[in-house]
Assembly symmetry: C2
Homo-oligomer: 337 residues x 2
């Protein structure tokens, strides 16, 4: 039972391969009677075009790669879902590459891109630096996500992290918080995100005339809820007093919520908490989580727009697109009454 090929259909229908191909592609100038005959042959044999062969012939793969640190991080899994749906809408398939924040795997993503497997790559780097990416960006289609790196020649989509952190901080200040913590700084973190979010946080305190207390900038060991939990618990154990927390990641916020709960603090009564990314997690915690909400669909659409322009041949300087954000206000840091 070998695969049915175009030529098999052609023989059965008594026409040339090209005519069958024309029918498959709904090419307009095919006589109705012939089209019907060919279609019947296709149906009878159950013919499916071989995509690999088509790709080789056309030079287009119809696939794009989405390279993210972790598939099962809620933010990235939600992002993946949006990407997959947008891709379907635009006639692409997505192949997801997990980099695990490993510099070598990240590099491999860019190198593989050259292998003709995909038409373009949407890449959220964590560990690779700007120059590193620039060196490997051989002019083929690439769009970067996040804040880690932004080579001059490469397109790039992100939210305004400073302003989003500012919004979060203002929100806490408006509800009366005065000792607001930031969770968290990570030693090994080379991404720009944290710095920018920290900047917005500082700016918020500054404009409200609240003194910045270094003790309130918590550190964590890694980007997990567990690390967030530990960090907050330790701060409490050290006797640090605070009435609000801006978390740079929903997972940190989940950990913080749990730490506060376990140490008998009420949220938002004693401490108000703001998370980041507005993952679905936040909707089902108790209390539900207020969180910075990047406009994910905008982000995805922008990334695809840029990528498709690159695929279509744009070779110019890198475009930087800032997509909107909002604050999804829930119980952990409610609106001021």
């Amino acid at each position: 039972m070998a695969r049915i090929r175009l030529i098999d259909v052609a023989e059965l229908a008594g026409v040339s391969m090209k005519t069958v191909s024309n029918v498959v592609h709904s090419y307009p100038h095919v006589a109705p009677a012939l089209r019907e005959k060919v279609q019947a042959a296709i149906d009878q044999l159950g013919y499916r075009p071989n995509l690999t062969a088509r790709r080789l012939a056309t030079g287009k793969t119809g696939m794009i790669a989405l390279a993210i640190p972790e598939i099962d991080h809620p933010y990235f899994s939600e992002l993946s879902r949006h990407m997959a749906e947008e891709a379907t809408r635009r006639g692409y398939r997505v192949i997801i590459e997990q980099t695990l924040s490993d510099p070598d795997l990240e590099r491999a993503v860019l190198i593989d891109r050259e292998a003709g497997l995909v038409d373009g790559v949407i890449f959220h780097p964590v560990r690779m630096e700007t120059l590193d990416i620039a060196k490997l960006d051989a002019g083929t289609s690439l769009v970067l996500l996040g804040e880690a790196a932004r080579p001059v020649m490469t397109d790039h989509v992100m939210i305004d992290n400073v302003s989003a952190a500012l919004d979060a901080t203002r929100h806490l200040l408006a509800s009366g918080c005065r000792r607001i913590a930031f969770l968290g700084v990570i030693a090994a973190d080379i991404t720009g995100s944290t710095n920018q979010r920290l900047l917005g946080y500082q700016q918020g305190l500054l404009e409200a005339g609240v003194r910045l207390d270094p003790e309130l900038v918590f550190t964590a060991l890694e980007f997990t809820a567990e690390a967030g939990l530990r960090s907050v618990t330790e701060a409490i154990d050290r006797g640090v007093r605070f009435d609000g927390v801006v978390c740079r990641d929903d997972r940190f916020a989940i950990g913080a919520l749990k730490a506060l709960h376990d140490t008998g603090r009420s949220v938002p009564g004693d401490v108000a908490v703001v998370g980041w990314d507005n993952t679905f997690l936040g909707a089902y915690t108790s209390p539900t989580l207020t969180s910075v909400a990047p406009k994910k669909t905008e982000l995805v659409a922008a990334a695809f727009d840029l990528l498709e322009e690159r695929i279509a041949g744009y070779r110019g300087v890198g475009r930087h697109v800032i997509v909107g954000h909002s604050l999804a206000v829930r119980e952990s840091a409610p609106h001021t009454p």
Copy 2:
């Protein structure tokens, strides 16, 4: 700056294409001096083999498709991660197809498989029925996950749902629960999972001599935390009394936890809760969630084993593999003291 091809390297190195190919594939019988010269040419030009062309020539794609209902469901995103890692280990790439539990999209997965894009498919059906799958299973490599359907000729990996539900129910019974609810039955659900889990639940009650009260089988509208929350809240509003809940899904459990919290019940004091799938969600709820834990890595390994045998040419009858499970015991339904 066109793509570098094998022949470009061959010309630069002054050898034949096959020799370059031999170097690329580390074929042993290449004279060291030549190998070096060819390698130098490869490096100089930055040659990358075109995978599409290689595929067409070899007939193998090195890719497998993972078809799941939703990428961002925690269970499936965790599964995806394991799959991606196992695939890498075995030299495959994974392309994730999201079916959204849509029968047409599910069907498309099986039809596409014929298109030579992937070497095999690991498919977790939700809406397609056994016969439907059997009809489309043209003998190419396919492994099914879950309980929805199991055609005779198709390989299949699952956990023993009856026994897992039995374990969960016994656990609650052992800690003294006597009015144990099941969350939940969904009208539109045609998967076998719920029935099997319900069966295990009944069996557990039966062997403990506890009467089965139909009022305790909760229904929900869809598989979301929101629906779980609503279902439990409504049961409480109706005045249904219960001291334990077996949830057929962690998301239901998250919703249940929130419903109990919002209505002032303590967990596990007033009501003990068991979830299903042991997603990472359960580790960060308050209280943390006891959950049925399928051995995901075993499941993934088994699925790949079967799939690789199919790819290698096995054409026999469908194998059914049952992988182990355990109960991840946490605060929401602790061990009996």
